[in-house]
Each structure stands twice: as C-alpha cells, then as structure tokens.
C-alpha cells in the first residue's frame, strides 16, 4: 500500500515541474469562461432574416421597413408563405423568420393584440438569443411610434402592449443561456482533463521507457493505476474549483447548492472519465493515439449529454443511447446543484447511474492494464 504514496509523490513532483500543467489548472478554466463570456455578449450584426407578410397593409409594411433598414438584420426579402420561409431557413439562408398574421392592422386599430411570430434558428443559441432581443426592441420602438401617432399619451403608452412577439426556437427549444452553459463548460473541462491527462501520462511513460522499468518492479497493477489516477483526480478537482471561482467572478454565477454534494458527484463522474483515460492508454502506443482515442469517445459523450442540444430534441433511439452516457447525468447534476441548489437526495438516481458506469468503466479499464508489454 505504501508504494502508492511514492507513486503519487513522484507524480506530483513531475506535475509541479511542468508549467503546462499549472497553466492548465489555473488559467484554462478562466480563459474558457472569459472567451465564452465574450462570445455571448458580442453584438450580433447582419442576421439574415425573411418576413412573411400575410396582412399586406400599410402598418405591416412599416414593420417590414423597420427590419430592412437596421444594421442588425440583413433582410433577404419577403417570403410568400410560412412553408416557403421555413424552406429558406432549412437551407441556411436565413436565421430568423418574422411572421405577420392576417388582420394585423385591423387588430391593431381595434386594440386587439396581434401576434407577430418570430422563429429563430436556434442551432447557434447565442446569436439566436441576441437576435430575438433585437426583434423585441424594434417591435417596441415601432409600437411607441404608432401610439403617439394615434394621439395617445406617454403614460397610457406604457400600459399598452401592441404587438406581442411570440418567440419560438426552431431547433433548440430550450435556448442555452449563460447560466446553463457555464456549468456545462465545467463538466466538459473536467472530462477533458481527466480523460486526456490520465491517458497521456501513462502513455508518456510507455514512450520514454519508464513504464517498462516499473513493470519489472514488484508494484501491483492496481497500485500503478491508482498512482496515476489519484493525482489526476486532484488536478481535476483543483481545476474545477478554479472554474467555479471564474464563473463567480466573471458572471456572478456562484454555487447555490451544497459544495460537498457536488464534490461527491464529481468523484462519481470522474470514475468513468479516468477509466476512459486508462482504457485509451492500454490501446495507444503514442500520446497522440491516446489523445485521439479519448477525444473520439469524448465527442460523442459531449454531443449526447444535452450540453449543446437538449436531449428532448433528439430522435427517440438516440435518447435511449444517452442513458448510457455518464456525462448526461453529470450535466443534470451540476446544473441542478450549481444553479438551483437542489438537494442531493433528489439527485440520487443520477448519482447512482454515474457510480455504476464509473465503477464498470474504471474496473474494466484497469483490468486491461497489464504489467506486460504486448
């Protein structure tokens, strides 16, 4: 047992001598979160838009004009029907459809609230969110103009809502907000670090030959594996905390729930990602191969985690597959605990699922790890 302590000590000595590792732990989480922050607050310009005007009235034309002059939108012309507009969106020519219903002007004059529908291509969630905000701004400005033309007083104006822009995401029903993305980024960072670094650090010893030397010592398999995994878990843990600090400092997004619940879930989750790293190291001969193998699995795991695309929007059979994906559970757990402060007893199912997958992955990967060269 005490051999493990020497392995861990050695691992930390090596980590502390590598600047890249320290950068990884303390700078990468901040950087990711900052970059993300910029991506979200960046002005959106020239979002291609098409409008379906079913009213063909003076009022509806003013609305169309308002959208065609602004810098924020790039007006691609009118569409004849809702279907035609959707076709255009499907081909990627527009990102936004504005649908003006029949009787728009009539309803307006009769003080019935007409509903203008905006359909956004939600694949790019950030752009979509900002585009929608612009749509609302333009609509509100227009409605103020109309009311003043109709002789209403500013006080009354505040009371009246003329157009209600009903928004709907075409492909991303639950538009990702910063709040949802930040915990997601933390989960992805955690996964990348544990899977990549574990795999690469084992394979590096294969490449330089030190693993062969270790293999002729009386060290046991499990000691070798734990000696690699424990330091990586500590690195991941530090990185995660730095990431949370970043989320707090940059977005004011502080942890709402119980920190220790989240830590416990983190360990359950990392069992599978560490297992993935070990698995990659048993196949790979070079660090690049280890990275590629870990990357291959990670891409699927992240895509099927509900991070980018909500799981409800996936085809049924793919939804079934996501139940086999530990990242799926961790996304839920981290969002619930971090954002809502959900108590751990409501998340036991996710926790259990992660623990089971974690143990299976970790143990089967460790069993593949032999003290022999192949």
């Amino acid at each position: 047992m005490h051999r493990i302590l020497y392995l861990i000590q050695k691992e930390f000595r090596q980590i502390l001598r590598q600047r890249a590792y320290l950068g990884l732990i303390f700078i990468m989480p901040f950087l990711q979160i900052v970059v993300l922050g910029f991506a979200i607050t960046t002005d959106v310009k020239n979002v291609p838009i098409t409008i379906v005007d079913e009213d063909h009235s003076a009022m509806s034309r003013r609305l169309v004009d308002a959208f065609s002059v602004t810098q924020s939108f790039d007006f691609q012309g009118l569409s004849q029907s809702s279907n035609q507009a959707k076709e255009v969106m499907k081909r990627g020519l527009v990102k936004l459809i504005l649908h003006i219903p029949p009787d728009f002007e009539k309803d307006l004059k009769n003080n019935v609230h007409p509903k203008v529908q905006a359909i956004v291509d939600g694949v790019d969630g950030n752009t979509a969110g900002i585009a929608l905000a612009y749509v609302n701004q333009i609509a509100v400005k227009l409605q103020q103009e109309w009311y003043s033309e109709m002789g209403l007083h500013p006080e009354e104006l505040l009371e009246v809502h003329l157009t209600e822009v009903e928004t709907r995401m075409a492909y991303n029903a639950a538009l990702e907000s910063v709040n949802n993305i930040v915990p997601g980024i933390l989960a992805v960072l955690l996964m990348a670090v544990t899977a990549f670094l574990t795999g690469m650090s084992i394979v590096r010893e294969k490449e330089i030959g030190t693993l062969e030397q270790l293999m002729v010592t009386p060290i046991q398999n499990i000691e070798l594996v734990l000696g690699k995994v424990v330091p990586m878990l500590v690195v991941a843990f530090l990185l995660f905390n730095v990431g949370m600090l970043g989320a707090g400092l940059i977005f004011g997004l502080w942890m709402k729930g119980n920190l220790f619940s989240l830590y416990l879930m983190l360990v359950f989750f990392c069992l599978s990602t560490l297992g993935l790293g070990i698995f990659a190291s048993t196949i790979a001969k070079t660090q690049q191969q280890a990275m590629f193998i870990a990357w291959f699995f990670m891409v699927f795991a992240i895509l099927l985690s509900g991070f980018f695309v909500p799981i409800e929007n996936m085809p049924d059979f793919i939804q079934m597959i996501t139940y086999l994906n530990p990242v799926r559970y961790f996304m839920v757990v981290i969002r619930e605990i971090y954002l809502k402060g959900t108590e751990i007893q409501f998340l036991w199912k996710e926790g259990l699922a992660m623990l089971v997958f974690g143990l299976v992955t970790f143990i089967s990967a460790s069993l593949r790890f032999h003290k022999r060269l192949n």
Binding site: R3, L7, G209, E212, Q213
Partner: protein, 246 residues
Amino acid sequence: MTNSGYTVHVENLTRMFGTFKAVDNVSFQVKPGEIFGFLGANGAGKTTTIRMLCGLLLPTSGKAIVAGYDVYKDTEAIKRHIGYMAQRFSLYEDLTVRENIEFYGGVYGLNRKQIKTKTAELLDYLKLWEHADKLTASLPLGWKQRMALSTALLHNPDLIFLDEPTSGVDPESRRNFWMLIYELSEQGKTIFVTTHFMDEAEYCHRLSIMRDGKIVELDKPQSLKQKYKADTMQDVFMKVVQKVEA
C-alpha cells in the same frame, strides 16, 4: 520454485511477433555468480530474450526458469528477485537524482529510513553528492547509466539483467561501468548482460553469439578465440557470421 542448480535455465525458448520469429528456439544455462554475455547485432533478438526472462513478454513456446521461477506462471516472484536495466535509459529525467532513488526505493518496498541510508550509500558510491538535487536530465549519459544500475539494485537482487548498458557511452565511462559489473560479480551476483561491442565480450565469463533469433555460438571467450583461431572477439564474431552465412 524449481531448482536445477542454474540461475537461468532456458530450453527451446521461442517468441514470435506475428509470423516473424524474433527468438528462435534458444537454449542455454547461466550458472550462479557468472557474468553471462549476449552478443549480437541490432535486431538479433537480445532484448526480446531478456524481456521474456524478466516476465515482461510471454514466450510463444519453450521453457525458462529464472532464479528458480517459471516465466509463464511466477512472473511476480521473478520480479522480486531480479534487477533489470532496460536498454533505454529509464529513470525519470524530470526528477532529481535523489528523488529517483527515493522513488525506486519506495517502489521496491523500502521504508523511509532504509531509503535514507541507501540514498547516502549510493551518492557516496557514485560520487554524486554534488548533483544529488539536480535534475537527472542534466547528468552525462555515463553517470546516468551508473545511476540507473544502482537504482535497479536497491532491493539487493542476486540476479541482474543489463540490456546494452553501455551503448552510446564514451569509452572511459564504458570501462567504469564494467568495473561496476565486476564489483557486483565479486559480491556473488549473477549478471546477464547484452552488448554489441565486441571488446566488451572479452570481459564476460561465458558468452553466446546471437544471430537472427538463434544462438550460433556459446562458450568462454578464450575457447571461442582458440576454436576460430582468432586474436580478438571481433575476429571471432566475423568468422562466426561468415560460417553461418556459408
């Protein structure tokens, strides 16, 4: 545990990589306390043989008993009883000399106190006190090799495998290294060493010449020189190779 009186007992040992026979039906015995040499050009199969004997590679067929243990079943027991220095330098270059010794000491199961004593002993012996806290990467190769040998001996094994310990090392360091080997031999340790330097072959008590996975000669250097009527092992080697090709 099997006891045949030999420290290493190999019969018809073969290792295939796919359809390629890297080690082809070799048989030999190493006596206790011997310096046994394995001579051969690159690719002859020396490393593959050593790896099988250390329990790192499973043989395809044949029998091998090392320090009384079977290489098929008792690899872990073998590992407790042998020291192994791989062909490639395999200490951690990004650890200091002292840290490397501490690490391998810990891995071989020494306690803190034993490690401390051993470290002092080794630093004295290798005259490395000045460099104790420098990164291993900064040492000249000759010193690194002597250090690697010392760390491979932290658990005081009776049988030591050295795979080309002197390749890439300057002539003076090579002589120093062989002095170390002789010291170990005088302490009663059995040494199995591979080399492609012909002059080093003279230092061995007995040696085998390997070619294309086969052992083509096995005897004392003196006897081989007589047999081939040669003055140096270099000549012997050339004649052996010619004989095989003919």
